[in-house]
């Protein structure tokens, strides 16, 4: 046994110089190749390096974003009066050094939840229509309109919601339940978010539905199922991973949407108890207060902590969507 051990140690000792000489050899070989190469060969080798640096740019940017947001939000997490407890503490009052961000997280999740609740049934319905029942003449115009909806800047959605949707909620919808509101409410935020999410859900789901093989539909129809039964029970369940990815991606967009929500949710520091109560979401607090806060270290740090949580949430949503796609590739072979 001891001999074997010695052998292994010896091998390990031999491997280190071997590895080193191999690396040195590769480097000197590269340098030698570069020196003997003609002009176009030199350009080729330098060009490879020139392409490599942009390739890792996106990775570097992600690392920088994580590092800087973490660096900026550390002070609030290590502060004795604040600490990690700010995530569940509901009082935000920078004047008294109270930086609870729970109300923003609740506001964001409620807004996104309402938006998803409205947008998912509509979006999946629209996707089924586009991929299964749409007459050929109508398909391209409808697709173009939906793509253009995705391109409209969020500030324009915000403008429309502020000037059209909010008065409608104030004058027409709120009186139904005998509640009074100035219209700037959770419902307005959820509705405009739902409208903004619809293009994403419809486009990705339509693509997912269209990758379902034709043979599945034909088999179902041949068994005597009606078209609606085929599309609901066969096509939709076959495309479930793609639809799931669409929903998760749009959820990420809903939580991260800034300008439109900022303009219509009323920005009031309270937990909303009804649809017509104003609320405050995570993106709005950063937009509204970072400008004033950057000279107060703790306040500024709390806002960056909100940004850091947003970042972690968006990374989680992307990971979940990737998981859905992997699941689809594994169980169905397409997505």
């Amino acid at each position: 046994v001891t001999e074997e051990k010695e052998m292994i140690v010896q091998q390990g000792q031999e491997q280190v110089p071997a590895l080193r000489s191999r690396i040195l050899g590769t480097i000197s070989q590269t340098v030698h190749d570069f020196r003997v190469a003609d002009k176009s060969g030199k350009v080729d080798m330098l060009g490879r390096l020139g392409f490599f640096i942009p390739a890792i740019a996106s990775t570097i940017i992600i690392v920088l974003i994580l590092a800087f947001l973490w660096y900026e939000s550390v002070p609030i997490f290590v502060d004795p009066n604040a600490g990690p407890g700010i995530i569940v503490s509901p009082t935000w009052d920078p004047n008294r050094d109270l930086f609870g961000i729970a109300i923003f997280i609740i506001g964001s999740l409620l807004c996104a939840g309402i938006a998803i609740g409205i947008a998912v049934p509509l979006g999946i319905g629209g996707a089924i229509f586009l991929s299964e029942f749409c007459p050929m003449r109508l398909r391209q115009p409808i697709k173009s309109v939906i793509e253009m909806m995705a391109a409209i800047p969020s500030i324009v959605y915000g403008l429309w919601a502020y000037l059209v949707l909010v008065p409608i909620i104030k004058n027409n919808i709120a009186p139904i339940t005998q509640s009074t509101t100035n219209g700037l409410s959770l419902l307005a935020g959820g509705l405009i978010l739902a409208i903004m999410l619809l293009p994403t859900i419809v486009t990705i789901s339509t693509d997912a539905l269209q990758t379902v093989p034709r043979s599945l539909r034909e088999a179902s129809l041949a068994l005597g199922a009606t078209q609606s039964e085929t599309s609901r029970k066969i096509v939709l369940s076959a495309a479930l991973p793609g639809v799931g990815a669409a929903i998760v991606l749009s959820l990420g967009r809903a939580v991260g949407e800034t300008m439109a929500v900022l303009m219509v949710t009323g920005n009031s520091l309270q937990i909303p108890y009804s649809l017509f109560d104003p609320t405050y979401v995570m993106t709005s607090i950063i937009t509204n207060q970072l400008g004033y806060a950057f000279v107060f270290p703790l306040w500024r740090s709390a806002l960056f902590a909100v940004g850091f949580i947003l970042l972690i949430m968006s990374i989680c949503f992307t990971l979940t969507a990737k998981f859905f796609i992997k699941w689809g590739m594994k169980t169905r072979g397409y997505i």
Binding site: G47, F51, W160, G256, T287, F304, L310
Partner: protein, 312 residues
Amino acid sequence: MQVSINSESFLYRLYGRIGLKDAMKSRRHFSDYIFKILLGIIIIIICSPFFLILFQVASVGFWQVFGTGTGQGLEFLFTFPGAGLEGGIRNAFVGTVELIAMASVVGIPLSVFGAVYINEYTRPGYMREVIEFTSDVLAGIPSIVFGAFGFTFLVDFLHIGMGIIAGSVTLAFMMIPTILRTTEEALRAVPMSLREASLALGATKWSTIWNVTLRAAFPGVITGVLLAVGRVMGETAPLIFTAGNSLSVPTELTGPGSWIASMPYTIWAYISDPREYLQVKAHGTALALMMMVLTIDIVANLISRKVTRRLV
């Protein structure tokens, strides 16, 4: 006899034509029919906000952008705002164009060359997956987080200061994922035989990429660039803390003289203002911005359709 007369009548033909005749056959056929009608209603609901928004913006802002009176039409786009923000939006219009131009100068090479490296030099594996994953993560990051990052990294840490450079570099970061993924797809669609033919003629990889591969993938690259430009053109949140705002165009690259206005920011500032005439100007700006963004989007779609048609 009664039936044959009925089948001639208009109502009966309509009854067959809209499918009700089939739908009445059984309960399952009826629910099938209802389901289809429901989907038709849903697609109308989905598309209607686009026209409602267009109507709202155009009904107030149309004469601001297309009118011929004082302060309307081209005069609106090409005069600086004066006292009390009367006048045009030249600061915002020129600001947006300058920001997008500088963002493109930084962002397009970064993402196109990155995609070339992933597709031409790496084998499918660990490195490619990492880069693709990070660009997907980058695409999902909220715009306000980009703004906060640009503020702490570019403005504060690198001491660039608010202004045109910080604003456009932040926008360039946001352009990367869109262009990278579109370029990658376009490069993947270039047939291997083209590259092999070029390499067999003795060309280096570098000249193959520039003269053959990128040229064949050019329409796809342009599509990605246009989509990315259209997307960042309407972004407000990243610019609030990085570009600042200004009533004129920037005169220097750093310092307070480099603060720059943009059209989305101007819409936000004008719409939050209680003065009545600023609402009209906000609508005019929104209409101009929407027209720019939608034109870019339509052109991108036209190019990409041509590409797919040619490849198929």
